[in-house]
Structures are given as structure tokens and as C-alpha cells.
């Protein structure tokens, strides 16, 4: 019992510790593809460290929502981490507290607070980005739902630990058409949710074109650090759901011993690295979509997920 709590907390520490690294590696690789040198892969850590030691400036016009939001954005991915398989392939202590839908709602809570905090500031760019994020969010919602319906139809459960077994036992299930289509749909969803190209340009500094970043504009000091870290953790958590539950549930620890669990950490990181390579190829070869093309992108994700569901049901 205590062992499972310890491993569960270890998961949280892994997510907190390695999520900035994932961002750093991603931006370094992208710079290398564009034949630049790029920032050091540890740059996100330094950014967060620097911001944590800076003074925080909060506008007098803002309400408590603005002040509480960095904490909500920081905490929600941690809660989701407790529910999903990051390192082990057997359920941990908190695994049955919530299913994948619950995890999705917790992540959405963080997004909701970030949105109303952006409106709270009165900065003209904040509400603009916030409303765009909502647009992407509500278009992504039906895809989330259909993907979860399909997954729960196949596995007979929505608990991620049970789902991950269903697709690979036997191994030929991996090539089920519904599985391949669900993977595609969820991949497009990750791009939209994490604000990557072609939906949003994460490295752009042009306020009028921002979708996700504009919510951070008013934050400084500790608030900005927590928002950045929270965003990195959300990306890490989405990758863990995608890789450990839907695509490749291999390399996870099967035993309860601590050495085995520690061995799983590099394996999970390797998986994420391979995924990031794919991401770099996609981000380097596509241009950002115009804002009103995003419904088409997510519409494509929606029909992919619907096709997955139809092919499984009939």
C-alpha cells in the first residue's frame, strides 16, 4: 500500500522534473532543423529558476482569479498525473479516483481558469487569445468525447490502466483500423491542445497571432514561472496519455520494486524523444493555419475519430 503511494508520488516528481526538459529538447531540435544552434536543452529550467527569483507585479485592477490561476494551472496536471500510467503498467494508489474523462475535465479546469484570468486583466490581447483558446477548446471537445467513447467501447472501461492492455493483447490488435484511426485523431488533438504548429505557433512573439501564449502576457515573476511550468507539465501529461495508454504501452515497469520503476524512467523518456522527433518533422514542414482553418483541422480529427468508432461498432 505505502509502496504504491510512493510510486505514485514518484510519478509526480518525474513529471515535474522532466517536463521542462521535453520542451527544451523540442525547441533545440527545431532550431537544429532550421540550421540554427538553438538554446541549450536546459534553458526552460533556467527560465523558470530566473522567473521564480523575480519580483511579481500584479495589476490593481485584477481580482483574486488572476492571483489564484497560476496555482490552478500548476496543480491540475499534477492531479492528472496521479490518475494515469506514467511509469507502471499496474494501477497505483490513486488510479481509481478518476478515469480518462475525469482527467480531461481536470485539465480543462486549468484551461478554464487561464482563460478567465486572461480576461480579468483587461489587457486587449488577453481576451482575444482567451476567446481563441476557447474556440479551439470547444472544437476539440467532441473529438475527445468520441475518442474516449471508442476507447471505452474497446476496453470496456475508461480507467487508463485497463485501456492500455486492451490494444496490445494480442499484439495484432495494434493494427485494428479503429486503433490506428483513434491514434491519428488523438495526435491531432494533442497538437491542438498543446498549441503546436499547425494550429498555433508556440515560438511566435506577435500578439495578434497568438492563441495560447497571450494568456501569459500579464504574468511576471513567480506567476509566470508557474504558468510556464504548468504548461510544460500539461504537454508531458498529454504525451504520457498518448504514448503509454494509446500507442505504445511497452517499457513500463511491471513489478513493484523500486529499481524496476526507476528503470522505466529512461524508457519512457526514450519513447517521448521518439515522439518528439515526429513532432519536429511535422512542425518544421507545416505552416501555421489561418484562424478560421482550425475548424477544418479539428473537423478532420472529428471525422477520423467517428470513423474509428463506426468501424469498431459495425
Amino acid at each position: 500500500m505505502t509502496g504504491r503511494i510512493v510510486i505514485n508520488l514518484l510519478q509526480v516528481i518525474v513529471v515535474m522534473a522532466f517536463s521542462p526538459l521535453v520542451k527544451g529538447v523540442l525547441s533545440r531540435l527545431e532550431a537544429m532543423v532550421q540550421s540554427k544552434r538553438g538554446p541549450c536543452i536546459f534553458q526552460p529550467y533556467r527560465d523558470i529558476w530566473k522567473l521564480l527569483h523575480k519580483e511579481e507585479v500584479v495589476s490593481e485592477q485584477t481580482s483574486w482569479i488572476f492571483r489564484i490561476t497560476p496555482y490552478v494551472v500548476f496543480i491540475t496536471p499534477i492531479f492528472v498525473t496521479l490518475l494515469i500510467p506514467v511509469l507502471t503498467n499496474y494501477p497505483l494508489f490513486f488510479a481509481f479516483m478518476g478515469d480518462m474523462l475525469g482527467g480531461g475535465f481536470i485539465l480543462a479546469l486549468g484551461g478554464f481558469f487561464a482563460t478567465i484570468a486572461a480576461i480579468d486583466t483587461g489587457n486587449p490581447y488577453g481576451p482575444m487569445g482567451a476567446s481563441r483558446t476557447r474556440m479551439v477548446g470547444f472544437l476539440a471537445e467532441p473529438v475527445f468525447m468520441i475518442v474516449f467513447f471508442t476507447v471505452s467501447l474497446v476496453a470496456g472501461s475508461t480507467i487508463p490502466y485497463i485501456v492500455q492492455e486492451a490494444w496490445i493483447t494480442p499484439l495484432s490488435n495494434f493494427f485494428e483500423p479503429s486503433h490506428v484511426l483513434v491514434m491519428l485523431a488523438f495526435f491531432m488533438l494533442i497538437i491542438a491542445e498543446a498549441g503546436r504548429l499547425p494550429v498555433d505557433n508556440p515560438s511566435g512573439h506577435f500578439e495578434l497571432a497568438m492563441i495560447d501564449e497571450s494568456k501569459l502576457l500579464e504574468y511576471s515573476g513567480r506567476g509566470a514561472a508557474l504558468m510556464k511550468w504548468g504548461g510544460a507539465m500539461k504537454f508531458f501529461v498529454l504525451l504520457c496519455i498518448f504514448l503509454n495508454v494509446l500507442v505504445s504501452p511497452w517499457g513500463l515497469a511491471a513489478g513493484t520494486g523500486l529499481p524496476e520503476v526507476f528503470m522505466a524512467i529512461p524508457l519512457v523518456l526514450v519513447k517521448i524523444f521518439v515522439f518528439i522527433l515526429f513532432m519536429v518533422i511535422i512542425e518544421s514542414s507545416l505552416a501555421k493555419l489561418r484562424l478560421f482553418r482550425i475548424p477544418e483541422f479539428l473537423g478532420a480529427a472529428f471525422i477520423t475519430s467517428i470513423a474509428a468508432m463506426i468501424m469498431y461498432i459495425f
Binding site: 495484432s172 493494427f175 485494428e176 483500423p177 479503429s178 490506428v180 484511426l181 491519428l184 475548424p295 477544418e296 473537423g299 478532420a300 472529428f302 471525422i303 477520423t304 467517428i306 470513423a307 474509428a308 463506426i310 468501424m311 459495425f314
Partner: protein, 222 residues
């Protein structure tokens, strides 16, 4: 290769075939549509190969070979030759219904085709018809939808070719022993259709300056 894994691979091919059909509806540029059509034809050929191996039928291998010869290579080449400037034009195709709505209609059509195919399947039998028949019908309907919605001649040609692909995709699972002569004539029919339509489109384009169908209302230019 066992029967079950072949069936499963065929199902995967079917899923990707359906996806490329959706792609034809979702694309905004003619070149994109054409690429999706090429992909779709390749998946059709793969499915024919798999079914041919499964049923030990030489006819299906011939179908795969003809499909690979005609659709992903000859038809794009012919269209490129006859209406090349239209194919590579980087402008958006005008259409009656916007793309997100079209995609939703496409989902509706797909579900309808699955419902239509269910009673047919009990008559058709066979293990692979369960995948191929509904997807083939869906592709037929989606091709017809493309012809209806797109306003220009070239995407409409692609729509007609899509319908033909859908009919083939359903056909190879229901009638694996269709005589070779029928397959041959169908394949070369398609080739001739593409050629004639391409030349016709070129003539219309030369005369009118566009191939938008809704402009072609009167017999004589006023």
C-alpha cells in the same frame, strides 16, 4: 500469413481508404484532391492484393495490377497533360457548402452507408465483405457528394473517379471471381473517361476562362 491477420490488414487498408476519401472532400486545392485520389487508389490496390491472396484468385491480382497501372500513375499524368495549369493552380476550389459542414455531411453519409450495408451483408456473406462493402458504398456516396458540391470541372472528375473506386472496393469483396474482361474494360473505361473529360475541360477553359459549372448556363455566349 493467417486468414485472420489478412482480414485485419484488409480492415486497416479499408480504414485508410475511407480516410483518404474524407481527404478528397477536405482538400481545398485541386492538387491536394488529386494526391488524395492517388493514395486512395493505392489503398484499393493493396486491398485487392490482400483479398486476392486470401481467395487465391488470380483475377484480383490482375485488378490490383491494373489499378496500380491506371489510377495512381496514368490518370494523374493524363490530367496533368490535358489540364496541367488547372491541376497545379494554387487557388482554392469554389464549392457550395463549406468544408467543415461538408465533413459533417460526410460522416452522416458514412453512417448511412453502414446501415444500408448491414442487410446486404447477410446476403453477400464472406469474411471481408463486412469491411469492404460499407466502405465501398460510403466512398460511392462521398464521390457523388463531391460531384454535387464542387463547382469546377476537375474536382468533379475526381469525384466521379472516386465513385468508381468505391464501386471497385465493394466489388472485389463481393465478387472475387469477376471475369478479367469486365475488370479490364472497367479500368480502361475510366482511363478514357478521364482523358475525354480532361480534353473537354481544357476546351471549356480555353473558351470561357474558367470551368465553374454554374457559369455554363446558356448554350451561347451572350
Amino acid at each position: 500469413m493467417t486468414v485472420s491477420s489478412l482480414t485485419q490488414l484488409n480492415a486497416l487498408t479499408g480504414g485508410l481508404f475511407l480516410l483518404s476519401t474524407f481527404g478528397i472532400i477536405a482538400m481545398r486545392q485541386i492538387l491536394g484532391c488529386l494526391k488524395m485520389f492517388v493514395l486512395q487508389s493505392i489503398f484499393l490496390a493493396i486491398s485487392a492484393l490482400l483479398l486476392g491472396y486470401l481467395h487465391q484468385s488470380i483475377h484480383l491480382f490482375a485488378v490490383a495490377a491494373i489499378t496500380l497501372l491506371v489510377k495512381p500513375t496514368l490518370i494523374p499524368y493524363l490530367l496533368q497533360r490535358t489540364v496541367g495549369n488547372e491541376v497545379t493552380a494554387r487557388r482554392e476550389i469554389s464549392q457550395l457548402i463549406n468544408i467543415p459542414t461538408s465533413l459533417l455531411v460526410a460522416v452522416g453519409l458514412t453512417i448511412v452507408s453502414y446501415f444500408v450495408a448491414t442487410p446486404l451483408l447477410s446476403a453477400a456473406g464472406g469474411t471481408t465483405a463486412g469491411v469492404n462493402l460499407p466502405i465501398g458504398i460510403a466512398c460511392l456516396l462521398l464521390g457523388a457528394y463531391t460531384v454535387t458540391v464542387r463547382r469546377e470541372a476537375l474536382p468533379q472528375i475526381i469525384g466521379i473517379l472516386t465513385m468508381e473506386n468505391g464501386a471497385f472496393f465493394a466489388g472485389i469483396s463481393i465478387a472475387p471471381d469477376l471475369p478479367l474482361i469486365a475488370e479490364l474494360s472497367a479500368a480502361f473505361d475510366v482511363l478514357v473517361i478521364a482523358l475525354v473529360m480532361g480534353i473537354l475541360t481544357r476546351k471549356i477553359h480555353e473558351r470561357m476562362g474558367s470551368t465553374t459549372v454554374s457559369d455554363l448556363k446558356t448554350l451561347k455566349e451572350v
